[in-house]
Subunit: 293 residues, 2 copies
């Protein structure tokens, strides 16, 4: 999807919040803010929003000279989610449809997103998860189940730290041997990297690769050749989170997006009310999925 | 007060909202947004926020070539408030302290502010007003009453359209013959001008002047000589609203500010919780008012 005019005030606000999170120096906050304003003046609105996110956070890491400013945040989010894992696992197993229950939880885990909301606490997360277990999601679940059942090679694009604990529950239900999980290639906000995948033990049940990019989404041109090979060979791509939706929603590949619509621009683009748990497909190449199959 | 870094994302957001309010052309929205971003890159943080507000809205009026883009909004707000006037007048008269009740209502009327909140409806206003009649406000009311009683020449700086209907109730209680009301010198957002003062009949009970400026506050250097004369000769200035507080809070004059703290930056500057009804004085020249008298 393209960048909306509404994304611009949000970039500026998020840049300031991020600056304050990684530095206590007001002069640094101002320097970052002014630079982001300068870039925003000439922004190419045809690019998806994560292009600006990548630029902002590269600059931020350079300015504070820290390779992974969100290291501690991600560690906390992983711990928080791991603490909930046994309870969630029981809920999935006790469900009448464990696969669908796992899908719900994987989308609920998408509440852990520092881009859209910087103040997720354990109680917010728990509340979001409990709601997700009963909230209906938008999307044709039977068609989703069919696509998932028929696929031989599934590429699972992870989103955030913490959230990948919930992804693990879903991946266990998808028969891990036909799944490859891809995480970001380098630290960017609280997005999951190889380190997070190892922390939550994802590598013990499934092949984990990284995409070679530090964008908060999947910008194919910015990804490694190895990742692109996996991307092209998969007959189903499950893409978690808003960043992956923003970067891939117009791409002609067999993608199903699983995310929580946390911002009004994305909710509008996906034609859903804000806050919705969404299961939707990429715009061009249609899967045997939903009304448009 | 100076401009805070937090004001910048807010300028950008407000500029986009304002652009959409005055034009349905997306290219115009983008042009306005990019210009505001360009100015924000090099903003002088030592200036109060209304300096940027003035610049944005001058540009906006120029781009859409409309002298008063908020004309209809203001007319609606005046009507809305006039409809409530008889009920409010009764409440003031029935109160055990009519002057204080009128002060509360005048501050409650400050909820009509398109700068901080573009979606004020009649029911929001009514709710805000009913709350204001019982909510305690922050400030020493006895010292305020003393200052108001002793003053011989009161200059009353109005803020928004609609709100001036409630100002009228307070001015009636202040003995109008020692009061001069000043409104903005030209249309700026929904701030009250001479037209609004006439619409609500303020000129029938008190002398009304304009300040000669189109800033959404009181930038003394930008005001007319006539206004400045009134300003210097008054022994008490009652300044309504956030814009007047932002521009005058550090000025060495005998000012009492009456406003609702609607944004976190102003709430912090005034040392009050957000949402509070505030009666406070200017920083430098102390009035016989409160603890610091």
């Amino acid at each position: 999807m393209k960048t909306s005019l509404d994304c611009i005030p949000c970039f500026v606000r998020q840049a300031l919040e991020a600056a304050r999170l990684v530095s206590s120096n007001v002069a640094t906050h101002e320097k970052i803010l002014r630079q982001v304003l300068r870039w925003s003046c000439d922004i190419d609105m045809n690019q998806p929003p994560p292009v600006m996110g990548q630029r902002i956070h590269r600059f931020l890491r350079e300015i504070v000279n820290i390779k992974d400013p969100y290291h501690d945040v991600k560690a906390r989010q992983n711990r928080m989610a791991m603490n909930l894992l046994p309870e969630m696992k029981s809920k999935v197993e006790a469900s009448s449809n464990p696969l669908l229950a796992a899908v719900r939880l994987a989308i609920a885990g998408n509440a852990i997103d520092l881009g859209a909301n910087s103040h997720v606490t354990e109680s917010t997360l728990l509340k979001s998860i409990r709601q997700a277990l009963t909230t209906p999601f938008i999307g044709d679940k039977n068609a989703f189940l069919k696509a998932v059942t028929e696929a031989k090679r599934i590429l699972y694009l992870a989103d955030n730290a913490g959230e990948i604990v919930f992804d693990r529950l879903l991946i266990e239900k998808l028969e891990p041997k036909r799944v490859v999980v891809a995480v970001r290639g380098a630290p960017i906000i609280n997005d999951a990297t190889i380190t997070d995948a190892h922390t939550v033990g994802l590598h013990e049940i499934v092949q984990v690769i990284d995409n070679g990019s530090d964008a908060p989404g999947t910008l194919l041109n910015d990804c490694s050749e190895d990742f692109k090979q996996h991307f092209l060979e998969a007959d189903l791509i499950l893409a978690k989170g808003q960043g992956n939706f923003e970067t891939l929603s117009n791409e002609p590949y067999p993608i199903i997006f699983l995310f929580q619509a946390k911002c009004p621009v994305i909710a509008t683009h996906a034609h859903v009310p804000i806050g919705t748990l969404v299961v939707t497909q990429s715009r061009y190449k249609r899967l045997p999925y939903g009304e448009e199959s």
